[in-house]
Amino acid sequence: MFKRSYALLALLVIAGMALAACGPAASAFECTDALGCVTVGPGEPIHLAYAMVISGADETLGVDSRNGVEVAISQKGQVLGHDIQLTGEDEGCSAEGGQAAGTKLAADPTIVAVFGTSCSSAARVAVPLLSQAGFAIISASNTAPDLTEAGNENNHPGYLRTAHNDEIQGAAAAQFAFEELGVTQAATIHDGSLYAEKLQEVFATTFEEMGGTITTTEAVDPNGTDFKGALTSIAATEPEFIYMPIFVNAGSLITRQAKEVPGLEEVRLMGADGMFSPDLVEGAGDAVEGLFLSSPDLASFGPEYQSTFLPKYEEMFGTEPISVFHAHGYDAANMVFAAIEQVAVQDPDGTLHIPRQALRDALYATKDFKGLTGNLTCTPTGDCADPKIAVYESHPGQFPPDRIWP
């Protein structure tokens, strides 16, 4: 009995060695790419992954972008005769979640490109891991400026984004407040996240350059529930306007509680794209009336957005888009498809070789790419967006809110 199993084992080992020996010989392709190549066998799918927030209070942000990617995959069907497989991890919109998602994805060498992250805080820790693993990383909703700032320690090779840079969103919000509303005294609130802190910083700088005054900057706990203390401190500085580019959970509670703090009843509040969600309208109830939100200008999207994308989205997911970065996800996916088609080497038997560095280079070289969100051209540090920001005004029970500016 023992002998027979040993014989079997020996046979298997020999067979394995023989296979290994003739493996490379069967393929004429030799990978010379600096980061190596991904080999996709005949009939196997091309493996793409996402790292987005798909649970918790901010889930609409990530789920919406993922839906955008899935619409693109479904429309595309196949790339060079291969199906596309999408798997993913939840980055939880936090540094810890980003760490976990980044580590898991980085361990899978079959992944070609990663869509994500959703939140800049997660990007800060996940992107270095994914970049190290050789993937192309393309985010549909990271907006923190330092992620694509040349020379910044948070800018990593292989990272690109189709979302706008917050240098633009923050400045647009400041312009809206100062020029359109005519306020000169503003307070800001952030939640310690990379996204919120940078965005309010850009707002504050621009607002002060225009001649306004920032009365105070408060920070709150994104998981907190009682913000009266912070709002009372703000009320003591008598602002006319509060800019709070935070997320849904804290955002909806602050919107409610601001109405209950003496001195803030009439003060106008403004959030940013991180709060652009039906959950906010539900969570804030009647207090949402008059809340301003800045976000990518959905009205500026190309005609295919209305005619092709939206019907397809509704057909696949049974709902209208639930946040604002679905079209950015769609564009990101199509950019990756185009880049793969450009650089992949195909064997006669259908085996596909995708060189990693070449794929990154092709993505960075994207020029005048006709996407839903505009004509995308990537900078050498990965900013690909053709950004147009609009301001929306919220009303109870209504989503999406009314576009009012510009």
């Binding site: 649970s55 918790g56 209070a57 889930e59 609409t60 310690g192 900057t217 408060e218 920070a219 709150v220 706990d221 998981n223 907190g224 529930t225 009682d226 913000f227 009266k228 203390g229 912070a230 009372t232 401190s233 009320a235 003591a236 849904v248 959970n249 909806s252 509670l253 409610r256 209950e260 703090v261 003496p262 959950d279 539900e282 969570g283 109830g285 009647d286």
Partner: protein, 353 residues
């Protein structure tokens, strides 16, 4: 005498005392400077105090669940935060149903009672099931085992609710009769806050009476004293323990509705932080002690709400409100250094544990 003293005092003691004195000086200095600058008016301070009391009331009702169970089983029921979450989470659906019926604003008090009953019933059932399934089989296991089980049960419940109802926010509808505030002189009290403080206080009295004045309360106290002897005296220990969990669940369910009146958004993770705070409050007041849980919760609520503005503003620390938990927990450490068994805790001369 002096030699005796130097022998007893260790370096650690000196460091701990120095730390305590430093914190005390910081607190006093910060408060004096803040009050001197006059940045906040008297009515602001009263506002913050009332907010703190309302928050404290909710913490108190959750803390009761920890303290009752600890009193009887000497175990920390870490799944209690999910007992707290399950009731109000389910009650948001009941509230939607009441709105659909048109009762919500026509019979507001009745509606509030109904959602409270739903919430209390769900929380109590979850607590009883938890005890029956997760804790009773392990009652004679080493003490760490039920503790770990509790953490597991906590995750299980959280993700079950997430799986069943999704991870989005579930709004709790506003009640017209509780919107706005009462003006007493120049002091504004929001009606929701008044209801929360009052509700917590009444609930507290009811529970205290049950524990101190009724037959089942007497049984609970005797089981807490000594399980074996209580059993020999003819007390059905299992039933007493189940009742204890049920009481903790009911008070958590009521706390959940009061919490939703204050912060009207429910989600599957809503139990975690209030649960942690309430546990802290129970320890602060002296775990196992019912009035202690109430006192500890009020102190914690006040520290969180008044603390950042009072202590830190004066020290010139920017954006002090994000540090409210740091303040609350620093003071907690400070108090436990000098009173390790909590504010009203029994002196551990004859260790029960």
């Amino acid at each position: 005498m002096l030699r005796n003293w130097t022998q007893r005092v260790t370096l650690t003691d000196i460091i701990v005392w120095a730390l305590g004195i430093l914190i005390l000086i910081g607190v006093i200095w910060g408060s004096i400077v803040t009050l001197n600058t006059g940045k906040y008016s008297t009515s602001t301070w009263i506002d913050l105090t009332i907010t703190g009391l309302a928050l404290g009331g909710v913490y108190a009702l959750i803390a009761l669940g920890y303290t009752l169970v600890y009193g009887i089983l000497r175990m920390i029921n870490f799944a209690h935060s999910e007992v707290f979450m399950s009731g109000p989470f389910t009650a948001t659906f009941a509230a939607q149903a009441l709105i659909a019926l048109g009762w919500w604003n026509t019979y507001p008090i009745l509606s509030l009672v109904i959602v409270m009953l739903v919430s209390a019933a769900v929380s109590a059932s979850i607590a009883i099931l938890l005890e029956r399934i997760a804790y009773r089989p392990l009652r004679h296991a080493p003490r760490l085992v039920p503790l770990i089980t509790a953490i597991g049960a906590s995750f299980f419940l959280q993700y079950t609710f997430r799986g069943l109802y999704g991870s989005g926010l579930k709004p709790f509808p506003d009640m017209e009769i509780f919107s706005g505030f009462w003006l007493i002189g120049t002091v504004r009290i929001f009606k929701t806050q008044a209801v929360a403080i009052l509700g917590a206080f009444i609930m507290m009295l009811v529970l205290y009476t049950i524990v101190q004045r009724t037959k089942i309360g007497k049984a609970m106290r005797s089981v807490s004293e000594d399980k074996e002897v209580a059993a020999l005296m003819g007390i059905n220990v299992d039933r007493v323990i189940t009742t204890t969990f049920a009481l903790g669940g009911i008070s958590a369910g009521i706390a959940g509705i009061l919490y939703l009146l204050l912060f009207p958004v429910a989600h599957f993770f809503m139990g975690f932080f209030p649960g942690l705070k309430a546990f802290t409050a129970a320890v602060l007041g002296g775990i196992g002690n019912v009035p202690g849980a109430f006192l500890g919760a009020m102190v914690l609520g006040l520290l969180e709400s008044v603390g950042p503005s009072l202590f830190l503003d004066g020290l010139g620390i920017p954006a002090p409100n994000q540090l409210k938990d740091a303040i609350a927990f620093t003071i907690l450490v400070f108090i436990l250094i000098f009173r390790p068994s909590g504010l009203l805790g029994e002196r551990l001369t004859q260790a029960k544990a």
